[in-house]
């Protein structure tokens, strides 16, 4: 019973958080000084009458309440609003791209975790941090995503998955290495090693279960990092995913589309956070 109540509380908090995220983003957009400007108003090819129509259209969406209502109405009806640029429901633009983005992110996260886990297991087994593993990770963390993607494209030896994998692996490695290094030094593990327990058994039975909570938190961080890397990677490699859609919307000031994509990302982050915090809290409950 306690567990059910806890789960319901957690779900309610997540829903409240999402609603607040919608309101905060809408307010932020509406209060931005250039919200009502439209690139077409500066185009000399438009007649004065057309420009006046554009101003009237902009003035109609001036009210924050109206804007919030339209946004929530779009979400409840499943259309996610109407694109300013294309004049079609945002859902039609988003749906075909979700699969591309999810596939890219999943592949990158899986490869990155495999790479980071192998590297950190090898690295943490040594007494002192090895430059062989630390130097590439530090270097990769110092390269902006856009720069790494551009360089990969220039030398023609990379794909979006590779760029995202490298970035995620570098970040995950730093955390995993520290976690495992600390775990290996635990007195009970030193004792177990002295008694001749195999490394595999130590890992499976003691170390990995011991750092499970941190691993789940790191998984959430991986998702957040992947979402941040998504836009530059998809734009530079011309991947037709959500990141590219958001960038196109930002360049064309198509704010309903940008708002919808941001909301989808926020929902993903919130649920990922809930999933990572869950097991530890549920165990407590």
């Amino acid at each position: 019973m306690k567990l059910v109540v806890h789960l319901l509380q957690r779900l309610a908090r997540t829903i409240v958080l999402i609603v607040l995220v919608v309101i905060a983003s809408t307010v932020l957009i509406r209060c931005a000084p250039g919200y009502l400007s439209d690139a077409r108003e500066m185009d000399a090819r438009y007649a004065a009458a057309a420009r006046a129509d554009l101003s009237t259209e902009a003035a109609r969406s001036q009210s924050l309440r109206q804007m919030l209502f339209t946004e929530i109405d779009g979400w409840t009806h499943g259309s996610l609003g109407l694109s300013r640029e294309y004049g079609v429901p945002v859902l039609e633009l988003v749906l075909p791209r979700v699969a591309v983005t999810v596939k890219l992110m999943l592949r990158a996260i899986v490869f990155a975790w495999a790479l980071a886990l192998c590297a950190s297991l090898l690295s943490s087994a040594r007494r002192n941090p090895s430059l062989l593993w630390q130097a590439p990770a530090t270097l990769l963390l110092a390269v902006p995503t856009a720069a790494l993607a551009t360089l990969c494209l220039l030398v023609d030896c990379g794909s979006p998955v590779l760029v995202m994998t490298l970035l995620l692996a570098a970040r995950d490695f730093k955390f995993l290495d520290r976690m495992l290094r600390k775990a290996w030094r635990d007195p009970h593990l030193l004792q177990a090693r002295a008694q001749g327990l195999t490394t595999f058994r130590l890992l499976c039975a003691h170390i990995l279960p011991g750092i499970r909570t941190q691993l789940l938190a790191l998984a959430t961080l991986s998702i957040v990092t992947a979402l941040s890397a998504l836009v530059p990677v998809e734009v530079i490699f011309s991947v037709p995913g959500l990141g590219q859609l958001a960038w196109n919307a930002a360049m064309n000031r198509d704010l309903p589309v940008l708002l919808a994509v941001t909301m989808i990302m926020a929902v993903a982050v919130t649920f990922a956070g809930m999933a990572s915090d869950g097991p530890a809290e549920w165990q407590g409950a």
Binding site: L17, I18, L20, V21, A24, S25, L28, I29, A32, P33, G34, Y35, S37, A39, M42, T138, L139, L141, A142, V143, P144, T145, A146, A147, T150, L151, L154, V224, L227, S228, V231, P232, V235, I236, A246, W247, A249, A250, M251, R253, L255, L258, L259, V261, T262, M265, A266, V269, T270, G273
Partner: protein, 266 residues
């Protein structure tokens, strides 16, 4: 420990040298990051332009120097603002009523749930079309500062709660310590939390600005920025003509490595 301190001091010294060189390059007589030499478009090394010019005939060395100074100044200012905001929110929430603390943490959760790059893009794209380059630079770093404080505020809040429950502070409060006096005693004790947050924020903001600029949503031309110069790498015609085009990215990586070295485990 001594080795780490030594490497941190070396990194700081090297960064200071880079900044001084950049100041000397930018402040040299006749140097201008926006002046165009129309006879020397995409030129290689010459006496007038030691690292060549860009596609518009602007001196690359002056532009790189100015980008370094602008990016570092902006990132340091934004990191200082973020840290101050986090210190204020975290401390005030911890020492106020419990509901205010919960409300502040809920606001932090809302900000943390929003992917910052998308939020940055959203705010940048909703700016007026006539925003000047200087304003776009200021707004970019202000937005970074406005979005960077929640994670830091959470950490400060936890630290301040621990301090609030510390026996010495309970004793001091029971003895009549209040308001500004509490802040005077608490803030120095929060420095071990605030300083790393500040140092970590600086490279994060430099990277964020570079990424935004590379997407065409950062600092507007003709002001030089790392991101704007990374865009040059898209032009294959330029890559064939001069290898100095790689100078900005090489210097950016060096600066970020130095900043990371300074920030590591303070």
């Amino acid at each position: 420990m001594a080795g780490r301190l030594k490497s941190r001091i070396m990194a700081l010294g090297l960064l200071a040298c880079l900044v001084l060189i950049a100041i000397a390059v930018v402040a040299a007589p006749g140097a201008s990051f926006s002046a165009q030499d129309r006879e020397q478009l995409l030129a290689g090394t010459s006496t007038h332009h030691p690292t060549g010019t860009d596609a518009l005939g602007r001196d690359r060395m002056v532009r790189v120097g100015a980008a370094l100074l602008l990016s570092l100044a902006g990132a340091v200012a934004a990191a200082a603002l973020t840290t101050m905001a986090a210190a204020a929110v975290g401390t005030i929430s911890a020492f106020s009523h419990a509901y205010l603390g919960s409300l502040a943490m809920l606001v932090c959760d809302v900000f943390l749930a929003l992917p910052w790059l998308f939020l940055l893009m959203m705010v940048r794209s909703a700016l007026p079309l006539t925003t000047s380059p200087a304003h776009s630079a200021a707004i970019t770093f202000l937005v970074l500062a406005a979005l960077g404080w929640p994670a830091c505020a959470r950490a400060v809040y936890r630290g301040a709660i621990d301090l609030r429950n510390a026996e010495w502070l309970l004793q001091a409060r029971a003895g009549g310590l209040h308001g500004r006096q509490i802040a005077r005693h608490v803030l120095p004790n929060l420095m071990p939390l605030l300083l790393p947050q500040f140092l970590v924020s600086v490279p994060a903001f430099v990277i964020a600005e570079a990424n935004l600029g590379a997407l065409g949503l950062g600092i507007g031309e003709p002001l030089p920025s790392w991101g704007g110069m990374l865009l040059e790498l898209d032009n294959s015609a330029m890559l064939v003509r001069t290898s100095w085009i790689y100078l900005p990215i090489a210097l950016l990586i060096l600066v970020l490595l130095l900043l990371e070295a300074i920030a590591i485990e303070v």
